[in-house]
Symmetry: C2
Subunit: 173 residues, 2 copies
């Protein structure tokens, strides 16, 4: 299968938005998606964008059943380790089901790794759900370490009322 990997443009945000929802459906959390393609346009294509994104595109003659030629994406940004410095964090890596098994996911991952190296980041990090065996196997086969399993790192989140509570208790000095 022919495919091309390229940097996303503002015009891709409708496709990215569609695939974000497809990925959330796969992760059994479609209700959590509150982002519109307008917000993606604003947040990713401004002076200091919150994220960067790569797109996988197939030729018109190989388009999906529904007529899409943008069939995968990798959305990432830069974080910071106080031990190791700048790091790339891969928020989403997705390929539409009918296009899997053609090296598109691997191609996207390798391209993001290339960006990391270019930006002098010594780490590429991401997170995955423990029941998502295909993804865990995919990363493990490429040598990734599961830091939750080996070192015991847990994700913690404040949001909604518990975040508001913190704000209300912030010292004024």
């Amino acid at each position: 299968m022919n495919f091309k990997l390229r940097a996303a443009t503002k015009d891709d945000c409708k496709d990215i938005s569609r695939m974000i929802t497809e990925l959330a459906v796969y992760e059994n959390m479609p209700d959590q998606v509150k982002i519109s393609h307008e917000e993606l346009e604003r947040d990713g294509f401004c002076q200091n964008p919150f994220f960067e994104c790569l797109i996988a595109e197939v030729p018109e003659e190989q388009k999906s059943k529904e007529g899409f030629t943008v069939v995968g994406y990798a959305l990432y940004f830069y974080t910071y380790s106080t031990w190791m410095g700048p790091t790339v964090y891969l928020e989403d890596l997705y390929v539409m089901p009918e296009f899997r098994g053609n090296g598109i996911g691997k191609g996207l991952l390798c391209k993001v790794a290339e960006v990391a190296k270019k930006k002098q980041c010594v780490r590429l990090q991401l997170s995955v759900l423990n029941w998502n065996t295909p993804s865990r196997d995919f990363y493990a086969a490429k040598g990734a370490k599961d830091l939750t399993a080996t070192e015991g790192w847990h994700f913690i989140r404040f949001d909604g009322q518990n975040l508001d509570n913190l704000v209300n208790e912030a010292p004024t000095n």
Copy 2:
């Protein structure tokens, strides 16, 4: 105990660097710290900084045994959720042992929550080691959710040779 919370300046990087190492010692991973205070100065105080940092400072008359007045820090940056938009990620929250129990850690956390709200971030996230019961209890008492325990999220990392391997396999198209 009197303390003041304020934004870090470039001049604080030596103190931040010292406390990064103290925190890594507490986390039993001191060998992982490869960052110098010069790198913190460069990465945090440039045109598009990789992180922001708050400092906790006590008056001269309450300085630490070793003579330090900068006794805690909260280092954070902005990440992006493709479900919810901009998010604050708290990389490090630390208070020197002899200054704990005075509300400094809580003050720093609440101040970071305030930053999150001001920047229209609906989430404040962080990670913690599973054996670090004092920290886990601290966050849980304030209403934080442990997403690894409840949803099964695992941290995955590529670095060193496995990251290089990805780069070497990146498609050229």
